[in-house]
């Protein structure tokens, strides 16, 4: 077993401060019950101590930013981070308030080594604005101690179990007991007895310890050494993706929206990656101060997973819309998703063989959809039908057009059909035309829309070569030989 514990020491503060780059450099504290619960580096440098009252802290640093701790929001946010961890291993467990536990022994080969997993996790978490401390050990309890103490053992890329165990225990001996999960009163008691490090505690005979401390302490020690198994409740990413950002200060213009939008898109992409899905339709909602909500849907030609493209097309859709004066909250939902496997360059056709599709300008079509609307473009489809207006149809979905469209089995000689067709035949006077060729009888569709026409090639007075037909309603022009 190889356990990773990801500790996010400043997560509470980081959620409170999201998308406020300026604020991050100023001293800031997270307060619970008017006591300093967590603080950033700047606050630490200013001399503020953990556990001191907010009043004391503010007297030390007058410009101090302080946020109230919101346990519910923290819990929800930790769940949002599950997809990131889930990319590394399916065995992910949450441990409140700020820890994620991952069992990664099965993923070493996939990621080509332990260090890659650690780097990947750190990078992904940094992208969503978190600094992570990662501890690696043979049991989750020890990994947690290492993560909290921010102490790292240099393991090789593919460590064996005996090495992990011996190295972790050896390293644990030198760490202070203040990083343990024991009750503060117990730890204080041990400190008074002169037991300061894990090593000192583990070396003591268990029988004597049992007499002085509760059974919790002994159970914890067994969990540390691995004598007592520590079953975890594994979690999986949510089945649907919805995420909201509530802005502390209302945003007044579109460009400043791009930062929180990017954050949401990255969050969605992590979820998509963990589920092996691509987004086909994403829905944005922008809520204003007066509770007015604007909904914008972005549709994509194929399941997408690249954050840049999703963001770009979302911003394009946004550029054409009026937004409320002050945006207070943003919400992103993946309203339609599809499996990525279907979006591959190879599409399996009916006979089980693979056909190679031409290079698709899908990015381009998505861009057109985003800016000009979904009906701004169409693809052409030809069908086997003798009636001219049924021998073609527009298609707005590439996959369907590709399936249907093929060279018709009834080959038409080049030039026997005009290149320009009128969407609706135009009523004309036959005396304006000089008939050059015809008639060709087209008679079909008795089951639905009966067509019984004699087609002619005629030259208009202006000299244009036209496709004409004559039926029971008179003479019509149906196209140009352009």
């Amino acid at each position: 077993m190889l356990w990773l514990c990801v500790h996010l020491p400043l997560m509470g503060l980081e959620i409170a401060q999201h998308s406020q780059d300026l604020a991050k450099r100023k001293p800031a504290v997270l307060a619970a019950d008017q006591k300093v619960y967590r603080m950033n580096e700047a606050a630490g440098k200013a001399g503020i101590l953990l556990g001191s009252s907010v009043a004391t802290a503010t007297s030390l640093v007058p410009e101090l930013l302080h946020y109230r701790r919101d346990c519910e929001a923290e819990r929800k946010h930790l769940e949002k981070l599950v997809p990131i961890a889930y990319r590394c291993t399916p065995r992910v467990a949450l441990s409140s308030p700020y820890d994620l536990k991952l069992e990664v022994s099965g993923s070493l080969k996939l990621f080509e080594g332990l260090n890659n997993i650690v780097q990947h996790l750190k990078r992904s978490l940094a992208k969503v604005g978190h600094t992570a401390q990662i501890g690696i050990a043979h049991t989750p309890a020890v990994a947690r101690v290492f993560a909290h103490a921010h102490s790292v053992i240099a393991f090789t890329d593919y460590p064996d179990e005996a090495t992990i165990r011996s190295d972790s225990l050896e390293h644990l001996h030198t760490l202070s007991l203040k990083y343990s999960e024991l009750k503060t009163t117990d730890v204080e008691c041990m400190f008074n007895m002169g037991i300061r490090f894990f090593g000192e505690l583990l070396d003591l005979p268990r029988g004597e310890l049992r007499q002085r401390f509760s059974s919790d302490v002994l159970r914890y020690l067994s969990r540390l050494t691995g004598e007592l198994a520590e079953p975890q409740q594994y979690v999986a990413p949510a089945t649907q993706f919805t995420s909201v950002i509530h802005l502390l200060e209302p945003l007044l213009d579109k460009p400043s929206l791009s930062k929180p939008m990017e954050q949401l898109v990255i969050e969605m992409v992590h979820w998509l990656q963990s589920k092996q899905l691509g987004v086909v339709e994403a829905t944005w909602q922008f809520t204003a101060t007066d509770a007015q909500t604007i909904t914008i849907s972005c549709r994509f030609a194929y399941p997408r997973i690249d954050p840049q493209a999703i963001l770009e097309f979302s911003e394009l859709s946004l550029s054409e819309r009026e937004l409320p004066q002050e945006v207070l909250s943003l919400r992103l939902e993946a309203t339609q998703v599809a499996s990525l496997a279907k979006a591959g360059a190879l599409a399996k056709d009916l006979m089980g063989g693979y056909e190679v599709r031409p290079v698709l300008p899908e990015d381009l079509l998505d861009r057109l959809t985003a800016r000009l609307g979904p009906d701004s473009w169409e693809l052409l489809c030809s069908h086997d039908d003798h009636r001219p207006e049924f021998a073609w149809s527009p298609a707005s979905d590439h996959s369907t057009s590709h399936k249907k469209s093929h060279h018709p089995s009834t080959e038409i000689a080049a030039n026997s059909r005009p290149l320009w067709l009128f969407a609706r035949p135009l009523s004309v006077k036959s005396k304006d035309f000089e008939i050059l060729q015809g008639p060709v009888r087209i008679e079909d569709g008795w089951w639905e829309d009966r067509v019984q026409r004699d087609y002619f090639v005629g030259r208009h007075e202006s000299g244009a070569l036209c496709w004409l037909f004559n039926d029971e309603y008179g003479w019509f022009q149906h196209g140009y030989f352009a």
Binding site: L360, P361, L364, W377, L380, L421, G479, Y480
Partner: protein, 258 residues
């Protein structure tokens, strides 16, 4: 220290600006000569008329750049001239062909009959001139189309817009043809090839008068008379019809025998 830093910084901006300028497609540098020779040597896209091909720079339609076709009416063979070139592009490349704001429906079975793969054709229907220009530029920028056929609103079309399209077409390596009405011939244009198509006055069996108003590497050529393909092929069809009639007659006779 601070002064020194800003000085270096400024020089860097100037140098990067110069690089950007030199990369501009409108600027021709003598060192690009190899590229130009290669351009001249490669085969261009055929028009379907050897006489016309010979008159054009690089023996045919350009593979990148802006072409203008001026017409009086629809149905004077304006698409016929492009078809052989489009076919060649379809064969050689996997890129698509875009039609921006076409006046009518490009008829898919006819395109198929001309060996144009309709799976790689798409139409854009912009709502106004601004959208049409935006779509044209984006498609050229994306480089996913090898050819474009564009119909723009003549009243709102300005020369600077055409100049932009020409530059983008060079960058996107796309052959873009803009169809304009005949009265646009008095306006100046950055297009590298401008043709006008007029139907012959006497209507002698689909003669079309083609004039080259502007071309690379040559003077304008007035009144080049071309025989339209369309009618010739139709003529072949009538012959097939006649043959079929004959065949049927023979068989009905044979049937009578038995």
């Amino acid at each position: 220290m601070y002064l020194k830093y800003t000085y270096v910084h400024k020089i860097r901006i100037v140098v990067s600006g110069l690089h950007a300028l030199l990369k501009h497609k409108d600027i021709w540098r003598a060192e690009d000569i190899a590229e130009i020779v290669a351009y001249q040597q490669r085969t261009n896209l055929p028009t379907g008329f050897t006489a016309l091909d010979r008159l054009l720079y690089g023996n045919g339609w350009p593979r990148d750049g802006l072409v203008e076709i001026l017409t009086e009416v629809h149905g004077c063979g304006e698409l016929q001239l492009l078809i052989p070139g489009l076919c060649r592009l379809m064969e050689e490349e996997t890129r698509w062909i875009a039609w921006i704001n076409p006046p009518f429906v490009p008829y898919a079975p006819a395109l198929n009959a001309h060996d144009i793969d309709v799976n790689r054709v798409f139409l854009v229907h912009p709502k106004n001139h601004r959208e049409a220009l935006w779509a044209t530029e984006k498609i050229l920028e994306s480089g996913s189309c090898s050819a474009m056929l564009v119909w723009l609103d003549e009243q709102q079309l300005e020369e600077k817009q055409l100049r932009r399209i020409q530059t983008r077409a060079k960058e996107g390596r796309a052959w873009i043809t803009i169809f304009r009405p005949m009265h646009a011939q008095v306006k100046s244009s950055p297009a590298e090839l401008r043709l006008s198509l007029r139907l012959a006055e006497t209507h002698t069996k689909d003669q079309v008068n083609l004039s080259i108003l502007k071309r690379k590497g040559g003077w304008p050529v007035p009144n080049l008379s071309l025989q339209l393909h369309a009618y010739r092929a139709l003529f072949v069809n009538t012959r097939i019809a006649a043959q079929w009639q004959q065949w049927r007659q023979q068989h009905s006779l044979a049937g009578a025998k038995y």
